[in-house]
Amino acid sequence: MPEAKDGCVKPARGPMLKPTGPTVPPTGTPAAEEVRAMVARVGQEAPDFEANAYVAEGGFKTVRLSEYKGRWIVLCFYPGDFTFV
């Protein structure tokens, strides 16, 4: 299995504010008004983000939601690995 070039060290940038680009410091939290403006709602554009990921067969990589623009996406949050349900 080839190691992804992002490896294990590069932190993902989390929520991506518009205009796209690294406007959020890696350790920062979006200001409250930015969070309100970005919160997901039906009928509105999906808030973009970048996250570190594990992919079976592919190892570790960085995933940006907008990479999948043009396709149907199902985004599922869950409370934690090794939980029971």
């Binding site: 989390g14 983000f49 996250a51 079976a56 199902v74 409370p79 934690g80 349900v85």
Partner: protein, 132 residues
């Protein structure tokens, strides 16, 4: 259906790897085929409105996003009840049908069943064409 599935929790990608290898691969042959994303710190869950600050976890939120990057559906459950993938698939198929045809799908619609064509002619006449 051609759908991209992304799973996300506040666990690190390292924990995702071990969970996949230690448990999921024993439930699903070859492990789950979709990317497992890490929302360390809950910042992404926060902008999706499903981060529980007290517990420090993302609760069960599920979002359907269309090819124009518009959120079409969301479902949020507290952690103790699992989801129903059949309903998720039904919703995706319904949204795909609507996008392709411009028709709308009544309650509980399944592929192949009657759809509705909204317009002045249908006002007060739904009972004639749709009998659940």
């Amino acid at each position: 259906m051609d759908v991209v599935v992304l799973a996300m929790s506040t666990d690190s990608r390292f924990v995702h790897k071990i969970w996949q290898e230690a448990e999921l691969a024993k439930m699903v042959k070859g492990g789950v085929p979709f990317p497992m994303l890490s929302d360390a710190g809950g910042r992404i869950g926060t902008i999706y409105g499903i981060y529980d600050e007290a517990a420090g976890v993302d609760i069960r939120g599920r979002f359907i996003i269309d090819p124009d990057f518009v959120v079409r559906a969301m479902e949020v459950l507290t952690p103790e009840v699992g989801r129903n993938p059949d309903e998720l698939i039904r919703q995706v198929k319904a949204f795909q049908h609507v996008r392709k045809t411009g028709e709308v799908t009544p309650s509980g619609w399944q592929p192949g069943q009657t759809t509705l064509k909204p317009g002045p002619a249908l006002v007060g006449k739904v009972w004639e064409v749709w009998k659940p």
